[in-house]
Amino acid sequence: MEARLRVRRFDPESGDGARYQSYALEVPSYATVLDTLLQIRDDLDGSLALRCSCRSAICGSCAMRINGQARLACKTKVLALAPDGEEITVEPMGNMPVIKDLVTDMASFWSKVKAIGPWLQPVGPSPKREYLVPQETTRDLTEVMACIMCGACVSDCATLETELGLGKDPDATFLGPAALAKAYRFVADPRDGADGQRLLALSRAEGIWDCTRCNICVEVCPKGVAPLEQILALRRKAIEAGYEENLGARHTLEFEKTVRESAWL
């Protein structure tokens, strides 16, 4: 079948701005968008730049905007998006600077993940063998831990788009759905002993209360991590732990009080 892609190109060494280039090529019916891009690179245009590796939605390299929405190119079939041979638009992820073609600068993404202290922080000496953990807990943790750090949720995050649109320094913006889901993974881990410090830090500006709950991160996540749900869970835990000295928590508590006392929204 014929695949038609319209790809956003940008060459930082050319002095020109971004442009769109259209390609049409024969691909097998099972081809993904990634297969198609690689075939373009092999047969038509060796200069097309994109990150990719595993082809099976586990390495997290190939997130990009496909028809306006962040997706993994290796998990997106051409046929599913273009059953009648429609042109598919392929662009780099949003909310990050573009370096070349579909390659973005993820520095801010990684610095935010690092900012949440992304390692297990147990209290006390290690056990002689493994920690005893109920299987229900590991099942829940595994769902969040299945995050492959592809950046799709950050690409399409409405809060970040607004903040960056206002010209904020990228490193001073909302921590974002990926880093917060990662934070939840530690807070929810019974082996981790730093919940208090974590929740306190996450309750500050640019943390859990900055999310506008637009749900786009849940929609675009290719691994079912549902970052918004983890952010909401962190909010509940933060309030339970008494971290109320911030606008978000106070707003929530006042809201609850109003509903409780007056039955009015």
């Binding site: 060494e13 099972y30 730049a49 082809r55 390299s61 005893l132 299945a146 881990d189």
Partner: protein
């Protein structure tokens, strides 16, 4: 990363350099699990015996003993670091059965075990403050005064070539799957470390041993974990028979991979296949078990093959998956080149010999990564400072510029890579013959000649994947040539190296490792003995 973590614990100045972000590494693709004799009934000796028998007695038994003896402590450490291993009712680590194993000894995180461990080790690296140089592409090793003194690398972001001096270098670059087409391996698995070491003078070992995994998807070549069969899935032929009864009546679907792949290929060749495949049937496992333990392959079969494994069997076939050979090392990761270490799939210790057991590759990366990290740190502590000559950088820059100046012709990096991959699949697959292997050797020589004059289309320096792919193809061709030459020379069948013209194992002549040394005219082959400690070679039946 495990090696760097260990080196950092020894207070040496260490950094990780990777051509991709470390979380993009191919270890993430390991699905099924990681082995350790943790059960009350199980012993490390039993694990080591299974490993040695699985290797068709080509593994060095001292190395297999180290692997299996040290496995339990390393798994417990991974758990203590935060890996979310699946649990039993009592909260202890759950273990599933895997191919060729006498006990259920494979710890797992659903079917995303590699991803889970990779992310945890990365977390520990951040915690330890080890710097990572992401998207730095190594183009050669610096060898001065007979020792490895660092690497020459190109920063992908800028295209700049730099020398990075080091008192010790550890290669942990993974496999060479892209020598074949198709393969389950990532696009980045291009044999870089093996070729770099080979060119620098360190020999490669047992290059002929290529593992074909029994359950890869038909079109995409993507992997479906052995964990599926570990959980009880059946393999069926076109007659609906569980054909493994004919090939491995005791172990059935859980025979080692070389045995199952040969059985599948035989069924297909004798006309009992289904469209060039056999069928993997998971339906009787039930939805709950599949969703809890095998969700990734449920998604993959749906996304890539359009098959709902809850409702119908999925077509699978043997596909290139792993490479048992690699840079020859001792049990501390030291190669034969002073200052150069290797660990993981790029190394050959050898613990896998002629055939690797499922669940032993992640284990190898952790056990021997740790050991190589410690040994390299000791080496670095004892070494005198050495300034790397800048001439090597200038030479490398000149070589890359020459490629950039040549224009793209009819032959391209892609067309040569395609020809290499399809030739290797056609001629050096599950079953091999003298004639076909000789053709492959000839073909690889010819492709290497073509390779030298290839040009690239992208003339820029920033994220020039065209140029990086060109360099990678050079690595792949080195590896392909070594595989073909070593396979042609080994006149017996052992493990994954199965010859139609020499169908029997021949311990008298061939219970030995092959070595490949680089020469300008192609590999020079040599041999070295196999270390046997306590298990004399026996007939291998399952």
């Amino acid at each position: 990363m495990r090696a760097a973590l260990e080196a950092s614990r020894k207070s040496v100045n260490v950094a990780v350099l990777s051509k991709v972000h470390p979380l993009r590494s191919h270890s993430a693709a390991a699905q099924g699990g990681i082995n350790a004799a943790l059960g009350d009934e199980d012993t490390w000796e039993a694990h080591a015996f299974d490993t040695v028998k699985g290797s068709d007695y080509l593994a060095d038994q001292d190395a297999a003993e180290v692997l299996c003896k040290e496995a339990p402590a390393d798994i417990i450490e991974l758990e203590n670091m935060g890996t979310v291993f699946s649990r039993r009712e009592d909260g202890r680590l759950q273990q599933r059965p895997f191919g060729g194993a006498g006990f259920p000894r494979t710890c797992y995180v659903g079917d995303i075990t590699g991803q889970a461990i990779l992310h945890v080790v990365w977390e520990q690296l951040i915690k330890a403050g080890v710097p990572t140089y992401e998207e730095w592409f190594v183009t050669s090793l610096v060898v001065e005064d007979g020792a490895c003194r660092g690497v020459i690398a190109m920063e992908m972001r800028s295209g700049q070539v730099q020398a990075i001096a080091a008192k010790a270098v550890i290669l942990a670059t993974g496999g060479l799957g892209r020598v074949y087409q198709p393969t389950t391996n990532s696009l980045i698995s291009t044999g870089d470390g093996m070729s770099l070491a080979y060119r620098a003078g360190a020999p490669l070992m047992d290059m002929e041993f290529v593992q074909f995994h029994p359950t890869t998807l038909k079109d995409s070549g993507v992997l479906l974990t052995e964990g599926a069969r570990g959980e009880g899935a059946y393999l069926l032929n076109s007659l609906g028979e569980r054909f493994m009864a004919r090939y491995a009546p005791q172990k059935m679907e859980l025979a080692p991979r070389d045995v199952v792949s040969r059985a599948e290929q035989t069924e297909i060749d004798e006309g009992r296949g289904v469209d060039g495949c056999v069928l993997l049937d998971l339906r009787h496992l039930g939805e709950e078990r599949i969703r809890e333990r095998l969700w990734q392959i449920n998604d993959l079969a749906q996304d890539l093959a359009g098959t709902d494994i809850l409702k119908e069997p999925v077509a699978v076939r043997p596909g290139m998956h792993y490479h048992m050979g690699g840079v020859k090392t001792d049990i501390n990761g030291a190669t034969l080149l002073p200052g150069l270490y290797a660990a993981g799939e790029c190394a050959c210790v050898s613990v896998h010999g002629g055939n690797r057991l499922g669940g032993n590759s992640l284990l190898e990366t952790v056990v021997f990564g740790r050991r190589a990290g410690a040994a390299a740190a000791d080496c670095a502590s004892a070494a005198a400072p050495h300034n790397v000559s800048q001439a090597a950088v200038a030479d490398q820059e000149r070589a890359l510029k020459a490629v950039l100046e040549r224009s793209r012709r009819e032959d391209t990096t892609a067309s040569i890579r395609h020809e290499m991959g399809t030739t290797m699949t056609a001629k050096l697959s599950v079953f091999r013959t003298e004639k076909e292997m000789a053709q492959a050797v000839e073909k690889m020589r010819e492709l290497k000649e073509h390779y030298r004059s290839l040009g690239v289309q992208d003339k820029g320096r920033v994220f020039n994947f065209d140029l990086a792919n060109y360099v990678e193809l050079g690595y792949l061709l080195d590896c392909a040539e070594c595989i073909a030459a070593a396979a042609l020379a080994r006149r017996e069948s052992r493990g994954a190296h199965s010859r139609r013209d020499f169908p029997e194992r021949d311990d008298e002549s061939w219970l030995r490792h092959s070595l490949s040394y680089h020469t300008p005219d192609g590999p020079r082959l040599d041999h070295t003995p196999v270390t046997v400690t306590r298990w004399q070679p026996e007939r291998r039946a399952y």
